[in-house]
Amino acid sequence: MSEKRIRVLVAKPGLDGHDRGAKVIAQALRDGGMEVVYTGLRQTPEQIVSAALQEDVDVVGMSILSGAHATLFPEVVNLLRAKGAGDVLVVGGGIIPEEDIPALKAAGVAEIFGPGTPLANVVNYIKDKIK
């Protein structure tokens, strides 16, 4: 029963200050039994990856509502890979147009959770992927 708790970094890349969603997700993951670290606002991809390595997380969840996802999400994935942490699960959320999702997935973002996603879906998705 001494199962290792899933560790998640919830991050806000870019300059966007809307973190209601990020904080609600962080709380839901914590209530779902995970260890959650929230970076706060205005994180560069480099800062996010360095926090992910330092905290030794299984998952990085990023939230952007400003439209900068196409630039910043793939940069985080690439940097993780470059640092030998390509096995970290990367997921995203926010205002992400449907048509941008295939490119993000091709770049290595495992899943995008759009507006209206129930919290349980996110929690269960992560529990399912990290075993």
Binding site: G17, D19, P97, E98
Partner: protein, 556 residues
Amino acid sequence: MFKQDQLDKIATKKEKWAAKLEETVKKRPERQAEFAVDSGITINTVYTPLDLADRDYDKDLGLPGEYPFTRGVQPNLYRGRLWTMRQYAGFGSAEETNQRFRYLLEQGQTGLSCAFDLPTQIGYDSDHPLARGEVGKVGVAIDSLADMETLFNQIPLGKVSTSMTINAPAGVLLAMYIACAEKQGFKKSEINGTIQNDVIKEYICRGTYILPPEPSMRLISNIFEFCSKEIPQWNTISISGYHIREAGATAAQEIAFTLADGIAYVDAAIKSGLDVDNFGPRLSFFFNAHLNFLEEVAKFRAARRVWAKIMKERFGAKSPRSWTLRFHTQTAGVSLTAQQPMVNIMRTAFEALSAVLGGTQSLHTNSYDEALALPSDASVMIALRTQHVIGYEIGVCDLVDPLGGSYYIESLTNSLEEKALDYIAKIDALGGAVKAIEYMQKEIHNSAYQYQLAIDNKKKTVIGVNRFQMEEAPPTGLLKVDLSVGDIQVAKLTKMKAGRDQAKVKALLEKVRTTAMSEANLMPVFIDAVKEYVTLGEICGVLREVFGEYKQQIVF
């Protein structure tokens, strides 16, 4: 408000009625175990004069345009002039935004509202490394007066009023606006508009802060002082509950946290030596219009009454104009769904109606596609037409405060006021809004989490999300901001910078530095600098060096 014998009679009747109600509920069980508004106030089956027994009409309500302004800030309100229909717009380049502005003015919009991109809001030029991917995304990129001139090309700044959603670097953008208007041939005193300039709520929930609280409050006081002398019609601040609500606050928290921020600004300005009646009349507010229709109407009324009392009793303001809470309203962005987006038109219409029944001075109605992207021309048009329907077709603007006197509305106005005053007392005890930032963040986050849980467990219905879902084709016709906007903007900026008199730029930045380090007002120096095309990023860079940057505490 009612005679005792009337009340006694109603009380006797209501007692009998309550027994009947109990019988009815047994036969027709109620849909919910409890009914309550979002602020947690329980809703009874019906309201009567008994709920207002301890109230005094003159003291609590008064007439429109009279203290405590519960019923509105103007004696004739919309019978004189409808609210300003002001759609928030701005994206991509200054050229594109200029076109959207002119389109909105041609379509009957009566004032402009400018959205800036995030680098501009945080005081970075478009060529700053942190601006990568963000240039022109959520608003227009303004690096220098050159961009401002393009933005307002062929729009006479002495004739339209412009609201600018700019906070931390508000003084610099205002300086550019003044310089632009003067270049068009207008006098400073002829321009009219609003800067948001509300930094405390940036710390609490919106995130576009730059400097620590102390220098930020000094800049704000500088703006109050400068405007009271030079541009008397300018609204020097828009103290904003909108974002506090969007971040998750309840209606009662929205009133309380907004007015607590207001108290902090008034305190700071008085401390800097200004007279409350000098700047008080130019303070304006910005609220959210959310889904719980009657609660929202009551919220606007309660906010007006609480602020009037604060200004008169707490700060001793003498001018009735200092007592009035004038406000802009925007419908709730968080209430929009990506699912069945057309339903958002209805949500927005009801929210907008609550703002009008609450006596708003200006209004932005959200577009139905905003949970998906920035709004398209077509969706913006429907949003504006929604205001036209309310203003011209449905008759609600033919009298002032039509819901005033409703037992429920008055009772809810009272309850929201009480709740808000409780929160304000807590914030006072913590040492004021600046000291209570983390407290407010925590409260807002808890409310946001409860709200989401209520949706997830279906206590709260969101059509298309947890009820009445259906299969949908992916949306079409969404606005896309051209990815090349950033590159073009950076090229323009580089060229502009190279063409300046470098020695002059250096000297002006030095002037900004020395003034920042002194106690003098920074506004005249900002104006001198922007006139020579010193950029926003350069000026804010100097301020960052002098004052340092704010570091956010992480609360969740």
